[in-house]
Amino acid sequence: MASLGPTFGRGAMTNHWNDLANSDCLIICGCNPAENHPISFKWITRAQEKGAKLIVIDPRFTRSAAKADLFVRLRPGTDIALFGGLIHHVLQHDLYFQDYVVAYTNASFIVKPEFSFEKGLFSGYQKDKRAYDASSWDYETGPDGKPLTDPTLQHPRCVFQLLKRHFARYTPEMVAAATGVPQETFFRLAEMYCATGRPDKAGTILYAMGGTQHSTGVQIIRSYSILQTLLGNMGIAGGGINALRGENNVQGATDMAMLFHVLPGYLGAPSEAAHPTLKDYLDKETPTSGFWSNKPKFFVSLLKAWWGEAARPENEFAYHYLPKLGKGPQNAGYSWIPLFEHMAAGGIKGLMCWGMNPAVGSTNLNHTYSALEKLEWLAAFDLWETETAIFWKRPGVNPQNIRTEVFLFPAADSLEKEGSASNSGRWIQWRYQAVPPGGDIKSDLWYVHRLGLELKKLYGADAAAPGREAILHLTWDYGADPDPHLVAKEINGYAVADRKQLPNFLALKDDGSTACGCWIYSGFYPGPDKKDNKAAARDKKDPSGLGLYPGWAYSWPVNRRIIYNRCSADPQGRPWDPRRALVRWDEAAHKWVRLDVPDFKWLDPATKTEVPPAESAQAPYIMLPEGKCRLFVPKGACRDGPFPEHYEALECPFVNPLSPVQSNPAVRLWTSELSRLAEVCDPRFPYIATTFRLTEHWQAGPMTRNLAWQSEMMPEMFVEISPTLAQAKGIKSGDWVKVTSVRGEVLARAHVTRRVAAFTCGAPGLTNTVEMVALPWHYGFAGLVTGGPDRRRNYAANQLSPMVGDANTMIPEFKVFLVNLEKA
Amino acid sequence: MAEQVKKWYPGEGKITPARVVLYLLVMLGAVSALIRLFFGLGATTNLSDAYPWGLWISFDVLAGVALAGGGFTMAATIYIFNLKKFEPLLRPAKISAFLGYLLFIIGLTLDLGQPWRIWHPMIMWNPQSVLFEVAWCVMLYTAVLAIDVLILALERFRKEKLVQFFRQIYLVLVVAGIILSTLHQSSLGALYLLLPEKMSDLWASQAIGPLFFVSAIIGGMSMIILESLLSARAYGRQPEMNILPDFARGLSIVLIAYFAMKVTDIYARGVNVLVWDRPHFFFLVELVGTVGLPALLLSLPAVRHSEKGLLTGAGIAAFGVVLNRFNVSLTSYGGYREFSYFPSFFEIIITLSLVAGGILLFDFLTRNLPVYHELTRESG
């Protein structure tokens, strides 16, 4: 998400599930939808039935790969090299979609002369900080302050030429050396996919954790994005870059800011240092162009929704109540790794663990456990007694030595409560209660609500409590038994004066007259009654024939199904491909024919007249200030570079063949003893390890390892190893083996299969063949099934995984680390 | 006037070690049967989805019925072929046939998943089912045999009128018995005709019905010889050496015919028997060792006229029939490749106890009913 935002403007799947059926060529890369998003294969299969080609790029031959026309086995963590190679191929052979690139991307923008890239580093690197000063990563501007452009794309400093130069090093030989993909396979891949760079062809890329869980995760997705943009595959039906979100409502959760660095609707969280006042925040964070120029309206409406009466213009709408960034170890904020680093250092007293199971899913579990032990109290809200809830009696520890007080609150599951869930395709879908929860079980909403009321009571009683007003004045009226519809209505937003629901976010104001809990959702509950709840809409009509189903649920923003859809038509408003028309300018009628909700300014709100195509052609990516898709991401919006560059994983058995910079220079390194890393090419840990999911299990396991039907299908922890490694080690399928990393060890059954193989790569002269092993990470030590016969053991793969994260998102590098493997 | 009962043979009523063993076996079997009923087949047998049929079907049902084929064979010999000289062999044959079927029914009942539903085929019909036919034939034939035994009992208790009545309709019973036996003896083979794909080529023959039928005659005849010799030993009687050699000649002829049938069958179907593996080994043992060999032995007058020779020849022939039934039902059967089957303790005990029970009942009936002329207790 942190790469799609800077590139296109929004961090979300650009198209949606059903739309996969419209594609001519699909790349599944860094995800495994057959196993992890099975229902997506309904649409992928439909596309295949219509003749689409399917390409799977993965280190492992997965169940998705089993359905592919082309399987490309690449060494984990080398996507940038592969996609860099494809980008190079496209540019070298003029396979890009010229008109699209010129009109809709920043290819023609001219970059400051100070910008450079040399020996693996972009300009502005500060070694001591392991960070870039990104001031040179910017456009050269004219006297009007606007970026200079060269629509011929010839200027040596235009983005296009820089891009060409940057990726010129990614030759097929280099691709093979870095990724292990043989050149002939690379050419087949290039031929198959680059064929979508035509107006009448649509190609899509699907990705998930195989792409993101790397120290270069954001840039990996950037490399996918650049290829897609060059081929003109963005904003069209059957195209896009589709992040397959994980948990059923993870999209909703991020929309609602279950992340440390944003507020609902992706409003950046203010920081103590940069934004002491509301004015600072709004001045600094509001761009002058693009849709984000409306940010003050969204932000103030959010403050109004939260603090109601207490949020007044004279007190900056209670901005001072808002907690700010700037805490956390090394000022990194509380993303996952820093949170646990801080916890391990004793900086955190209590943890409410809400619907998650870090004792299995977190990285570097031994570190996680040591952090949890430092807590005074831990409250787990879950359906099951998770590993986290019993971390104090995990295998190998004496409970008496752990002082943490643990509470387990029984939570209602999704079928026992009403509410909405948002899917990857941004569809907000209402769900009903199927059965009431039994016993003392309560919904999460109930718990939060009661917690809020209790806090209000406690703060009310303690006049000296710090931050007292922020709690006391919080809007908190959702009924005695909290009503999800009241919450939904607040999220949609209302006019403060008459409490009337707002039609959508276009009605939001920055003067305190509107309140809105999450601006991007505004419009999904535009009236007072349950019948107005568009998330519950279930109309199956599909007027476009493209599977947009506008009457089914509500897709944010404003029920738009395919975002950036201005790009589906040429600058004159004529669809590139009439069969895939989403919007069309009808010159005669002087009107837009709208099959999807236009993602551009098509109507002048003042005059109520329709805006001719020329204007929107200037800014088809409305969320970005420059209005164009960013092949080059300026200003450090991606901290580790404006272009993707291949670096090796932090733990890696190969020397980077592309540059002397071995690993991402901008990632933060942690210094605590438990977060140690193996050396580069560490002889003690000669194999690459990667972790993956299984259809049969869900995540950290409680949801499936407690169910006999699921458990019987995948009963035991295993590790996939190649027949060559098995032979070398004298191991047979089913043997127990011990896998060790510098951080921990785990027992697993050897699963000998041709689906994994060794990789032969490395710069010329340094080639080497290294085996890769792959471990599912679902097993643990609690539940009906733990992963092995011995309940006194911990079968969690994350005992091995490293404490390094992406430079931007801090997502742990679950997908590449080094291990050793021996017969147990 | 009290009937005087003579002691007929030395040791009668004495508790001999053999009897102790037999009674113990029966008791053990009864307990096992109870356990089987309460805990189910899975808990007590080694049967599985891969081997739904095991020892009880192979031995109690298939082999048992074949060995009890003496009943209809003797009936045909005496009443149809009118070979009256073999009459002394008739009654023991009837008794052993009856007991054979009785025990077979007990065995089968235990083998059924739902023993108490054994009567279902009587009212729930599936006329296209071979097993349905077998069920009916066995039921009716057992009834015929029961009447046979009843007649003996009536004789014993001097119910002359009733005996007379049965004598009159006896031909009907004989013919019914022969028809029923022909049908079910061959149909038991036909059960396997219906699973050709799971049967080894060695035994999967369209002619399995006739082969089963003829081998049941062998089973019956050899058992008659064995019974005569063994009961003579047990009771200190004289074996019927006047007729047994001739009877054995008959057996050898049937064996030769059977041998010819098998060879023709294998040849006609073009099955290669000269392969070195377990099924082929068992097949050759069966064909050469237990059909060819006794046929040869019994065709030699010297063998036929010696008790030992008869015992050996008939013994091998009877064993051959048992082996054939095991071969057809187990050696030949290839369900799941990776599974094998060996009967459990309970299966073996119950089978042994059935045999033991059979011997004890045979002993009881021969002593109390007019079976062997010289053993028959007649008053005063």
């Binding site: 016969p789 | 739902q114 219906l194």
Partner: protein, 268 residues
């Protein structure tokens, strides 16, 4: 017209949702299991497992890796062996397609298990009052106008439920339009006289090594029910012949004996 299911294994992603849906609909328990070399688990059909996905890694002709997922369950034969052998008529093919089982009739003889050419009926070995269990083709759902649980769960449409004739046409259509995808055969169209489960596969069952694991290719096209009926049709004739011969021979031999006796008298 009867219902059938077209199982296009080339569209199956091995997600096993069908396996779980079947358990859910039929209320079947999950069981303790251990690691399986192929991932197929549980390893066999059983009275608790009416269907399972078989995973098969196999090399394509060009040596590249292929991974096949093949669903297995009762084939619902058009002329089922199981129906023809059951002595009490507990198994019956409904005209609509499903081969169903009547709990109340079964005596537990297990002949259906022996006779089924696809080794489908399974026995409740663990119970003292055991029954036969197998896929029911969700006959109760069909009766309510619903598709079988597995088919309605399948995300990819690998399990297509419909009229047998139409599905056969569809299958042949697929073979015709995408010959490179398929092994040229609809398994089930004629084997054992035809089944209601029709398979399209990417490779033959021999290549997949499944011809001895429930997908035999040597079963022929003779409807399996015929074997039993052919035998049974001879029963009256055999009975009459044997009976006639017996009675005839009885009188003949008696007469011969009488004649011989008289001759003996004369001669004597």
């Amino acid at each position: 017209m009867s219902k059938a299911m077209l199982i296009d294994t080339t569209k199956c992603i091995g997600c096993r949702a069908c396996q779980v849906a079947c358990k859910s609909w039929n209320d079947l328990p999950g069981e303790p299991a251990a690691y399986s070399e192929t991932w197929s688990s549980p390893r066999y059909l059983s009275s608790h497992q009416y269907t399972r996905i078989i995973f098969r890694e196999a090399a394509a002709p060009d040596g590249s890796l292929r991974w096949h997922f093949i669903k297995r369950q009762c084939m619902h034969c058009l002329d089922p062996a199981c129906e023809s052998v059951c002595p009490v008529g507990a198994l019956k093919r409904l005209p609509e397609g499903p081969v169903v089982y009547d709990d109340g009739r079964c005596i537990g003889c297990r002949y259906c298990m022996m006779a089924c050419p696809f080794q489908i009926p399974k026995f409740e070995w663990g119970k003292a009052v055991p029954l036969i269990r197998k896929c029911t083709f969700c006959a109760e759902r069909q009766a309510e106008g619903l598709a079988p649980a597995c088919a309605s769960t399948c995300p990819t449409g690998a399990l297509l439920f419909g009229e047998r004739e139409e599905l056969l046409r569809e299958a042949r259509h697929r073979l015709g339009t995408a010959p490179e995808r398929y092994y040229p055969q609809v398994y089930g169209d004629r084997i054992v006289g035809g089944t209601s489960k029709l398979y399209l596969t990417a490779a033959s069952f021999e290549e997949l090594g499944l011809n001895h694991r429930g997908f035999r290719t040597d079963l022929g096209e003779v409807p399996y029910g015929i074997y039993g009926r052919a035998w049974m049709s001879k029963v009256p004739l055999v009975a009459l012949t044997v009976g006639g011969l017996a009675v005839g021979l009885h009188y003949l031999n008696r007469r011969l004996a009488a004649v011989q006796a008289r001759q003996g008298d004369k001669e004597g």
